[in-house]
Symmetry: C3
Subunit: 139 residues, 3 copies
């Protein structure tokens, strides 16, 4: 069994942002030498997501508006979590809606994707450095 473990670091400016990280993950798959296996990509922070969807600017705008509707940032005081001095309770909800992780098949040494699948890092409490873990196992 071969394996590879690396961290990707991001520092999204602004409270929220959506970044296509497919090229970085694909490069790590190549580096791993794994031809056949699984690639786990997960946010290491609990107010961020890793998800797979379309790289289309209108959709990213729609996601942001939709997440804000289902889990509004304001009023900050309505969340008990924010009594700890944080103001990011909504980010913990948004992260659950979009998910923590994706598991992607590796076939013939590449991410085994459908035509429009792209891996995104979703940030819901930005302006700080945060990490994504990439773990690859296979042969």
């Amino acid at each position: 069994m071969k394996s590879l473990r690396e961290e990707l670091w991001f520092d999204i400016q602004g409270r929220r942002g959506y970044l296509n990280i497919t090229p970085q993950v694909a490069a790590l798959v190549k580096k791993s030498g794994v031809q056949d296996g699984l690639c786990l990509v997960n946010a290491m922070h609990i107010t961020a997501s890793v998800y797979i969807n379309d790289d289309e600017q209108g959709l990213l705008h729609d996601y942001d508006e939709w997440l804000e509707k289902l889990a509004p940032h304001e009023p900050v005081s309505k969340y008990r979590h924010n009594r700890t001095g944080e103001d990011n309770a909504d980010a913990h909800m948004k992260r659950q809606l979009m998910g923590r992780e994706v598991v992607v098949a590796i076939t013939n040494g590449k991410l085994d994707f459908g035509p429009w699948e792209q891996i995104f890092y979703g940030e819901f409490d930005g302006n700080r450095k945060k990490r994504v873990l990439v773990k690859i196992i296979g042969e």
Copy 2:
């Protein structure tokens, strides 16, 4: 390490639909010869889901109504994504709520399930052929 990679194709009539694909996945586990490992099942399209829940007609109706409430199809014009000529922005949201993928343990050559777990393909933008990827690794 053994592995198997296959695609399942579906063509759901109507905009949305929910299909129990457990028998097809179970057959692939058997075909793989893997006794002990993991089975990844993911939608290869970004307006569809693979999820695990109950095969009960009332629940499928409730899911559909609930998804339409949290991410309505109409008005189509409220989504910026639909300016691209699509009308499926809501399907991208519904897919995030239900999830892209499931990872199921394989034990003694079988899907290692609780009593009511069934794998479903959830279609949110149908009337076209779409694929699900099954990737199995183990020994």
Copy 3:
């Protein structure tokens, strides 16, 4: 390839509850002897979740309130699923929002976590014994 498969049993009192099960999962990783691999943790029941987020009491309260808003228990009669004699249709929705499973990397014999990541069992239809599956594969 090494592997380990164990069940964790819980009996949450009350309809809903959120339990940090990280210590139990970490103990199983140690028991497995796997230094490098993947750990799947999933609810074996379809009205419960396994998810990763913060172990903060205010946040657990906020999650519960938020889930009840997005997928209300009442009125029980509005869900077709409940015509089967159940009253837990809302629990099937809440479970989809929080997710069925997590896949966690194992590195150097330990759960490879960011600073605040904790594994939770989320119960949405309690007062009965239910199981979580832990499946570990690697070397």
